[in-house]
């Protein structure tokens, strides 16, 4: 298996390449416009891999995504959970769907809360074992922190779930779905220390494990969803600039020119 994390420092964002050197194919997860579609194309080519799928954990509000461009360029599908409320077409998957490149399986684990369509991706390298090895947790679970549940556009027609409901869902999702994974599973999130998508406790370390987050993630030590929601609110950072504009572009409500440099 080839597994690469790309860090985009200006926005503390992490994207991923998951591939199989024998099959010579790879998936890209959460590509960011700041690096650009060409960047991913060349990185994959350098590794001798063709990009056959572009996945996103959710529709982002804090950075401009280049997933659509990247998928079009490579003539491959742009995957999102079936709940994703975009105006443009994408290839929808459901909870539990499995996608593969060669010996590597990527299982879709629906983990709503931060957004209603949020999905984590479980990585299994079958050439080594049938046990999951890592989980890409997007903005659901961070190293030392959790994703904030309040960053939606505010348009009720598009947003599903109110803020309170999302906080409760986030708490349950992490406890029931992520913390039930084996302890050894490595956690690779979409953001790291400094990002505005989480709170003040987010670590700058690029990965963690289910074991360590279960034990030491402060937000998840709270006894119930109510205390959890309060803690997240108290430790949240100010809303990112332009998040409405960024989210609108990623949803397909705005053209690229209208962004005027926001979120890159």
């Amino acid at each position: 298996m080839i597994f690469k994390q790309f860090r985009y420092e200006p926005l503390n964002q992490a994207s991923y390449l998951v591939g199989c050197p024998k099959a010579k194919e790879a998936f890209i997860i959460d590509p960011i416009e700041g690096l650009g579609a060409d960047f991913y194309v060349l990185e994959a080519a350098d590794l001798g891999l063709a990009i056959v799928g572009v996945f996103e954990t959710h529709v982002h509000a804090d950075y401009v995504s280049c997933a659509r461009d990247l998928a079009e360029m490579n003539g491959c599908p742009h995957y999102l959970h079936e709940n994703a409320p975009t105006t443009y077409p994408y290839t929808a998957f459901k909870d539990g769907d499995v996608f593969g490149v060669g010996q590597v399986d990527m299982t879709c684990l629906f983990t709503p809360g931060h957004t209603p369509e949020h999905t984590s991706y479980l990585i299994t390298d079958k050439s080594r074992s049938d046990e999951p090895w890592a989980v890409l947790t997007g903005d659901c679970l961070f190293v030392g922190d959790v994703g904030r549940p309040d960053l939606l556009v505010g348009d009720q027609a598009l947003d599903v779930m109110d803020e309170g409901e999302r906080a409760r869902t986030q708490f349950a999702t992490i406890n029931d779905l992520l913390f039930s994974l084996p302890d050894h599973v490595e956690v690779y999130p979409n953001h790291y220390g400094g990002s505005l998508c989480g709170g003040v406790n987010m670590s700058g370390k690029n990965s963690s494990t289910i074991y360590y987050e279960k034990k030491y993630n402060l937000a998840m030590q709270k006894p119930d969803a109510g205390a959890f929601a309060q803690f997240v609110q108290d430790t949240a950072k100010p809303l990112p600039d332009d998040y409405e504009k960024i989210k609108s572009y990623n949803l397909g409500l705005l053209e690229k020119e209208e962004l005027q440099g926001a979120g890159v």
């Binding site: 050197p21 350098d46 590794l47 001798g48």
Partner: protein, 82 residues
């Protein structure tokens, strides 16, 4: 696993076979008899290539192993007898 002390390091990661060999040949030419060259390579062909190259040139493959991001080879230069 013994850790050999290398006199020179060649980072051939990302190179397609047989380029790691081509580069190793160039570096070896500038080395002294008995010196050790450490090579990092990602191409799978290297596993067969380096033993074959050593058999051909008389250089000694001391040891090789796989690490997270590729393969590591330790090769000792052996000057051919005239």
């Amino acid at each position: 696993m013994t850790e050999y002390q290398e006199n020179q390091l060649l980072d051939a990661r990302g190179l397609l076979c047989p380029m790691p060999i081509v580069k190793a040949g160039k570096v070896m030419r500038g080395m002294e008899d008995g010196e050790v060259l450490k090579i990092l390579a990602t191409d799978r062909g290297s596993i067969v290539d380096f033993p074959a190259w050593c058999e051909d040139t008389g250089n000694e493959l001391l040891e090789w192993h796989e690490e997270d991001d590729g393969f590591v080879f330790f090769i000792k230069k052996v000057e051919e007898e005239d």
